[in-house]
């Protein structure tokens, strides 16, 4: 297809500029992770003159990185799975049924997306503590369970919204037909609607995972030493005695790689999900 010349110029200028903008910090991250501590504390050099893999060894002993990583994985995975399931149910109801309070429900859910975290951080903390007191054992206070439940709601409004629009795009003849054949509502949802909505579900799941993966404010108050997540744990590389820049970078890289790979593998679904969810 023919392109205007000016568009070609625009394209290459954009690619070079955005490429550099994106790449430079990533480059700094990688090269700093390969430098000894003395070099990262000294004047900046583009190239690691004394490359070493030492930081990648040290990261595990300076900070219990493996534990934080496992915590993050557990909290984010469980909260993502549960919140997607809940969002599917709610979105299905919103998309396929007209029921009393539907508008109130969608309106309220959407508006919770606007709540400043700082407003409900402390009350939530208090509620968790009191639930624990009533139960007689620690279930929510500074536990992975408490953080998981909290994170489940963070992406819920957007997930419901997006999935509902996605389901709207799936012809209802499909599930109606299944219903006529005697399938239950749940059966129709799981056997007919969900397979058709797979890209939407994956998109929502990825979004949900990313939201909890990077959360800092609640994680800083609602975890302790053994339940800390990565976003907080990475801060432990700056201590009173030293800021281990090279180890921060190395640790960031190590923990990012699986997530980045997973994200990039799923991106084609994400694109498809976002497309139908938001465009149609």
């Amino acid at each position: 297809m023919h392109e205007q010349r000016s568009f070609k110029v625009f394209r290459w200028v954009t690619i070079i500029f955005l490429g550099a903008f994106t790449l430079v910090p990533l480059y700094v991250m990688v090269t700093s992770a390969l430098k000894p501590l003395g070099d990262v504390q000294g004047a900046f050099h583009w190239w690691p003159t004394h490359p070493t893999l030492r930081p990648f060894v040290d990261i595990w002993s300076t900070v219990p990185l493996a534990r934080y990583f496992v915590n993050s994985l557990i909290v984010c995975t469980v909260s993502t799975v549960l919140s997607v399931v809940i969002a599917i149910f709610a979105a299905y109801a919103v998309s396929r049924y007209r029921f009393r309070g539907r508008r109130l429900f969608t309106g309220t859910v959407l508006s919770t997306q606007m709540f400043p975290g700082i407003l409900f951080l402390l009350p939530l903390f208090l509620i968790f503590v009191n639930i624990d007191k009533t139960l007689g054992f620690t279930l929510l206070y500074q536990t992975r369970v408490g953080l998981t439940i909290t994170y489940m709601t963070f992406s819920l409004p957007f997930s419901i919204w997006m999935l509902a629009s996605y389901l709207d795009g799936i012809p209802r003849d499909l599930d109606e037909a299944a219903r006529v054949d005697g399938t239950s509502a749940m059966g129709a949802l799981f056997r007919i609607v969900l397979p058709a909505a797979r890209p939407g579900v994956i998109a929502v799941a990825v979004y949900s995972f990313m939201t909890s993966w990077g959360e800092i404010l609640f994680a800083s108050q609602m975890t302790n030493d053994s339940t800390k997540t990565l976003s907080i744990g990475l801060q432990s590389y700056s201590t009173q005695i030293n800021v281990y820049w090279n180890q921060v970078m190395a640790a960031s890289l190590v923990v990012s790689v699986p997530v980045v790979i997973g994200f990039l593998l799923l991106q084609k679904y994400l694109v498809a999900g976002l497309t139908s969810g938001a465009v149609k």
Binding site: Q41, L126, K133, N224, T239, Q240
Partner: protein, 446 residues
């Protein structure tokens, strides 16, 4: 639609109010220290502040001691080491929710502020007896336990004071003696500064609000200022306080510190600059020894310590204050279910034997009488610090608003330092305006 919305809102409100009230009354009456008694053996939770070179290091230092305690008393201690950036927020959250550890470390300057919350157990005479009695502690340190005239809610654990570290070789090369007056210090600093070589007279943590407020207090006292009047009202804008802040900011305005250091936080940067010969002097608490040796590779023989000097002659009303009584205190959470075990633990941690063991890795001054300074093998350094603690230290104001004072004034001074570092002149009027703003913020805090 409308009426339904209203109805549901009302229901929600009702639910929430019951939840809130239920929560608060329960909070007030019962309470839940996280300790538990299971199968005859007691477990208490202990939040330790990060005193060593890393959180990991703290666990290694405290681990064997806690085992020893368990052997002696049968009480198991569940240790959590909390970094300084998190500590106060965590304590606040614990206070608010009533769910906290049994025993915890606090920065002693927070003692009066935390006491005001009522979430901590007052050490009445009985409790004091259980931890070895009031007379066991160094008086100056014990006084930081809470507001005067009330039962303290904390007892001292590790003692710290400021000193002026100087690089012996740099001073000798320039033919200088360690300064005894502030004027001398400024002249020396200028002589030792050589920006083209990246060498400066003084190292500074200009991005740390705690450092800034500490020096605002110390120099304010030297200039006859007092941050609070007798009734506890803030008086930040009095001439003495303004002059004190100016004395500190002038280090930056007169270019004897590296402008970059306005970004230094409570990290290793300033001590490292000093240890690497990029700064000839460093005003720091005695726990800097750790960083200088571990990180900067400086040998103890390469630096000396004297008291931070005051202007000579002293301004009207001024006092020769070289430090405030810094340090870490131990508090017991009021909601603890294991009060006896907690008291035993406090007694253990403040026993002369444990003090002697812990002061070394934490480079702290003993807080019990007749303790010897053992974190340094250098007699003159030990003497200088002991002398400062005994004769030249005042506690920071023991008022409930102290914590707010630290953040508001500290940040105001940081802003002034930033202004000076970027080459803008800082006038007395600027200082006064900044302090006035900090004072206005206090009005809401108390």
């Amino acid at each position: 639609m409308k009426s339904r919305t209203i109805a549901s809102t009302v229901v929600l409100l009702a639910v929430a109010t019951t939840a809130a009230c239920g929560g608060s009354t329960e909070n007030a009456s019962s309470g839940g220290g996280s300790g538990s008694t299971a199968g005859g053996s007691t477990t208490i939770t202990y939040w330790a502040s990060n005193q060593g070179t890393s959180i990991q290091n703290d666990k290694e230092v405290l681990g064997p001691e806690l085992k020893k305690f368990e052997k002696q008393t049968g009480v198991h201690v569940d240790l959590q080491v909390i970094g300084w950036p998190d500590l106060l927020n965590k304590i606040l959250a614990a206070t608010t929710s009533g769910q906290g550890p049994d025993v915890l470390n606090i920065g002693n300057t927070w003692a009066a502020s935390l006491q005001a919350t009522g979430a901590f157990m007052p050490f009445d005479s009985k409790a004091l007896d259980a931890v070895g009695g009031k007379d066991k502690f160094v008086e100056a340190s014990f006084a930081t336990g809470g507001a005067p005239g009330k039962d303290p809610t904390s007892v001292p654990l590790y003692g710290l004071v400021y000193g002026l570290y100087y690089n012996k070789k740099m001073f000798a090369d320039a033919g200088l003696q360690p300064p005894t007056t502030w004027q001398e210090l400024m002249t020396d600093a200028k002589k030792l500064t050589n920006p083209s070589k990246g060498v400066y007279g003084m190292a500074m943590e200009g991005g740390s609000y705690t450092e800034s407020v500490h020096f605002a207090f110390i120099f304010g006292r030297q200039n006859g200022g007092q941050p609070f009047d007798d009734s506890g009202k803030p008086t930040f804008t009095t001439p003495g306080m303004v002059a004190g802040v100016k004395q500190y900011v002038d280090l930056m305005s007169q270019k004897v510190v590296n402008p970059s250091s306005v970004q230094y936080k409570n990290g290793p940067e300033a001590p490292t600059d000093f240890a690497k010969g990029k700064a000839a002097m460093l005003m720091s608490q005695n726990n800097a020894d750790n960083v200088l040796q571990a990180n900067g590779g400086m040998k103890p023989s390469e630096y000396g310590v004297v008291a931070i000097p005051a202007p000579n002659p002293l301004p009207p009303g001024g006092k020769d204050v070289a430090s405030f009584v810094a340090g870490i205190n131990l508090s017991i959470f009021k909601n603890t279910k294991n009060k006896d075990a907690a008291l035993k633990f406090v007694n253990f941690m403040t026993s002369p034997e444990e003090q002697a063991i812990l002061d070394k890795p934490y480079t702290a001054l003993p807080v019990v009488k007749n303790g010897t300074v053992n974190f340094t093998s250098k007699k003159d350094e030990a003497k200088a610090f002991a002398e400062v603690l005994a004769n030249k230290s005042e506690p920071l104001p023991l008022v409930p608003a102290e914590s707010a004072f630290e953040t508001n004034v500290g940040n105001a001074v940081n802003g002034l330092l930033a202004q000076a570092a970027t080459g803008k002149t800082v006038t007395d009027a600027d200082i006064k305006a900044a302090l006035q703003q900090a004072q206005d913020k206090m009005a809401s805090a108390s």
